[in-house]
Amino acid sequence: MKICLVGSSGGHLSHLMMLEDWWRAHERFWVTFDKEDARSKLVGERVYSCYFPTNRNLKNLVRNTFLAWKVLKREKPDLIVSSGAAVAVPFFYLGKLLGAKTIYLEVFDRMDAATLTGKLVYPVADRVVVQWDEMTSVYPKAVNLGSIF
């Protein structure tokens, strides 16, 4: 399968990096911020840079929506995976439209409430993965896989 791993740099990207034993067996590309930590983590990977800051930033949401359309049309991934934050939103909606499957992984430090990104992508997420039992009542269709750490 061809995978699109999309999200903010920092802790969100760390969550996706921790899935390496899964994604390294597949064709893949990344969409994240062009920041120092991301560059050092993704040496040798195929990376598209997206616009930031994204949190509650409408202008960059619009720019990232255009970017998502362009990238997804070109790459045609089978699966889009994100752990947040907001850049996931256009990729999940447009990805869905173009026939990709989507998995949203909620971050470890959310134990009892949804993130804004989680709420926004929930309707188009094929799978929602959480790391705490309480989160399955926050996201009824979520599956709890326990700690990623």
């Binding site: 802790g11 921790m18 899935l19 899964w22 050092s40 983590k41 993965v129 326990g146 990623i148 750490f149």
Partner: protein, 167 residues
């Protein structure tokens, strides 16, 4: 060696840096302090500072460090807990303009209660004693947390294969 890391969040964490700098200045043991200071503006005097540390170098430092002091981001300290290495966790607080809200404080509190294996510091004045008495404090908070990483990735792999088909 003592490692301090404030992660990648784009607000300063000067409160922590000032505290570690003063501890480093007053120590008699000449232990080396390495500080990843990110977007902080405080000028370190007694520690070796780096704005960012490349991922592979960070891994080496984490393994070598006798004590690791981190902010309250899970990616910065949970792996240490799963390795049985007790991090000193100083959550960023909104009232000092270190983060947009107090979610790091809430999260740190939850980890300390549910999992253990960390030394949480909510009042920066408590940091010197935590460093001084590290071995004792570390023994007091030992956790039974074992790494769940491999099991998580195996479950995730099965979930993705089932969703997309294992091509």
């Amino acid at each position: 060696m003592i490692l301090v890391t404030v992660g990648t969040h784009e607000q300063p964490f000067n409160r922590l840096l000032e505290a570690v700098d003063s501890i480093a200045a007053s120590q008699t043991s000449h232990e080396r302090w390495i500080v990843q200071y990110g977007f902080s503006s405080y000028q370190l005097q007694s520690c070796q500072g780096y704005r960012f540390v490349p991922a592979d170098q960070m891994e080496t430092y984490l393994k070598e460090a006798r004590i690791v002091i981190t902010h309250g981001g899970p990616a910065s300290f949970m792996e240490l807990v799963s390795m049985g290495k007790t991090p000193i966790v100083v959550p960023r607080q909104a009232c000092f303009d270190e983060h947009v809200n107090d979610h790091q404080v809430d999260f740190t509190r939850q980890v300390a209660e549910r999992i253990g294996g960390i030394i949480p510091i909510y009042n920066i004045d408590d940091l010197p004693a935590a460093v001084e008495d590290f071995d004792l404090r570390s023994a007091q908070v030992s956790s039974g947390f074992v790494s769940h990483h491999a099991a998580f990735v195996a479950s995730f792999t099965a979930l993705a294969d089932q969703l997309v088909g294992s091509k």
